[in-house]
């Protein structure tokens, strides 16, 4: 089995484990294609280190929550770019209604879970931690 075939079989939980351990990665083929697991059936993929910092491309503060997140509302969800890949996650460590929570904010990726339930492994997802409170001062 080639490395590319093995990479295509990496599951999302394994990818989250790596991200939580500070070893975040993405998958890239020889061309322009880049993604994060799972990527079943997509050959020629190799692991590349995920950039330590990313940039928020879009953010929305959700006031009418998904019922499973009812206790967390309002919460901010964002799509952020990390080099050639984008991730979706909740922005943590900042007021979800803060004015400076906006496109262009620099963030670090992490793994978080709903509410305070640290052990609820099935509900893990990507979190974004702002690098600084005010990116305009960088």
């Amino acid at each position: 089995m080639s490395e590319g075939d093995a990479a295509s079989r990496v599951g999302y939980d394994e990818w989250l484990d790596a991200l939580a351990d500070g070893d975040g990665f993405y998958l890239r083929n020889g061309g322009d294609e880049a993604t994060v697991p799972p990527a079943p059936g997509r050959g020629g993929l190799e692991r590349e280190p995920l950039p330590a910092r990313g940039t928020v491309e879009a953010v929305s503060t959700i006031h009418v929550p998904h019922p499973e997140f009812g206790d967390d509302a309002p919460y901010a969800i964002a799509v952020a770019s990390f080099g050639p890949v984008r991730l979706t996650g909740q922005v943590r460590g900042v007021d979800p209604e803060a004015a400076d929570l906006e496109r262009g904010l620099e963030v670090e990726p992490t793994v978080v879970s709903k509410g305070e339930n640290e052990d609820h492994t099935e509900s893990r997802f990507v979190g974004f931690i702002p690098v600084e409170a005010n990116p305009s001062e960088r």
Binding site: T35, S60, H63, H66, P67, T88, R103, F125
Partner: protein, 395 residues
């Protein structure tokens, strides 16, 4: 490629129908379409039925044979189409394909959704299932949240404002005031929209379509069948396109464009032999105000980044250059998700045929477009409709 004729259309009122089952709603739309087409029920060769959340709303999968009861023979082909909010548009597209290919001469396309019994929480959870479960739903994504992200990206890139979006809502509410089937038939102001509670920033309550029960149906026939049966077709489907994109937003190259709809429009226009400049009016998928802006650009009615002030400038109003969502759109007419793509066909057909209450806004219209999107436009179906007297119907 032979033409596909719309022999008859029908729809329920849109709104809350707490005492009616899904099969009752669909039966009403189906009966109206069949009666108006003058096609006997046992002549139907195939049913394509759009439905998204039958499992959560009514505990019902496998809805196609249920909705086909009383139609045709045991040889009838009945198929449910599920592509989230584009289920109805894809049902239409499958019907068009079946007739064009010669596989069928009479097809019933339809859709139904019951949503209001689910309430806001249940509807929010059900609609979220059209997003990517691993990347998005697991992180608390909602449908307003997903369109909030698209709106944030678009407004940032193109210097748009919430007020620009409010004008879309105001326009569509105004159109709905004279559509007796519409769910919300009251006018709103820009101030109403801007002051409404936020749902998912930058979108507020009046940026969002309502939760709706309803059904729609259309009878599609081949020119040969229409001729033999002596039917009087109401409109002609001359273009039918579909497109697909990554399901998750993070898989997209550009959050300010909808390439699935762009591809669907290109295909539909090419089949119809038209360009965007030929479009007299359109019914587009405005599940949120920003979605109408994205739709206008995907359909080529505006350049990328330039549709944001179309409603503010009155260009898409009923007396504008290209009226958009004369029915009231999903925003005010209502959005029974699995039916919406068919109900757009119903509204556009009646507008072309002059039988719609708002048809006086487009008395000379010959070409209309419908634009139906699934999820955050991960799927899209675009259809070109032409008035019967504008199109020389051919086999």
């Amino acid at each position: 490629m032979r033409d596909v004729l719309i022999a008859g259309v029908g729809a329920t009122d849109f709104g809350e129908h707490p005492d009616r089952t899904g099969r009752e709603l669909f039966a009403e739309a189906r009966s109206l379409a069949l009666e108006r087409s003058a096609v006997p029920p046992d002549e139907v060769d195939a049913l394509y039925y759009g439905n998204f959340m039958g499992e959560t709303a009514e505990g019902q999968s496998h809805g196609a044979p249920l909705m086909a009861e009383g139609l045709g023979s045991s040889g009838l082909e009945a198929t449910r189409i599920e592509n989230a909010c584009a289920s109805g548009g894809y049902a239409v597209a499958e019907g068009v394909r079946a007739i064009r290919s010669g596989a069928a001469d009479v097809v019933l396309v339809g859709g139904m959704e019951r949503m209001t019994d689910l309430g806001t929480e249940g509807t929010t959870a059900s609609l979220a299932r059209a997003a990517d479960e691993l990347y998005e739903i697991s992180a608390g994504m909602t449908f307003p949240g997903a369109y909030g992200l698209l709106a944030d990206a678009y407004l940032s890139r193109h210097d748009g404002t919430r007020e620009d979006l409010a004008h879309v809502a105001v326009k569509n509410h105004a159109n709905a005031t004279t559509n007796p089937k519409a769910q919300y038939r009251q006018e709103i102001t820009v101030e109403d929209a801007l002051e409404a509670p936020r749902v998912a920033s930058p979108l507020g309550l009046y940026d969002a379509c309502p939760i709706t029960d309803g059904a729609g149906a259309a009878v599609l026939v081949s020119p040969e069948y229409a001729d033999t049966a002596g039917l009087e077709p109401k409109a002609v489907v001359t273009g039918s396109g579909r497109g697909t994109d990554a399901l998750s937003l993070q898989g997209r190259d550009d959050l300010t464009r909808t390439p699935a709809a762009e591809a669907a429009a290109e295909t539909a226009y090419e089949q119809a032999g038209i360009s965007p400049g030929d479009v007299d009016f359109a019914e587009v998928h405005d599940c949120f105000t920003i979605a109408e802006v994205l739709a206008l650009e995907a359909l080529g009615l505006y350049e990328h980044g330039e549709a944001i002030d179309a409603a503010r400038e009155g260009e898409t109003a009923r007396d504008g250059a290209t009226p958009i969502n004369l029915s009231g759109g999903l925003k005010a007419k209502g959005h029974p998700v699995g039916a919406t793509g068919v109900t757009q066909l119903v509204e556009a057909t009646k507008l072309l045929a002059g039988t719609h209450p708002n048809a006086d806004a487009v008395p000379d219209a010959s070409t209309a477009v419908t634009h139906n999107a699934g999820g955050t436009v991960a799927t899209a179906a675009v259809h070109v409709l032409e008035a019967v007297d504008a199109e020389e119907v051919g086999a």
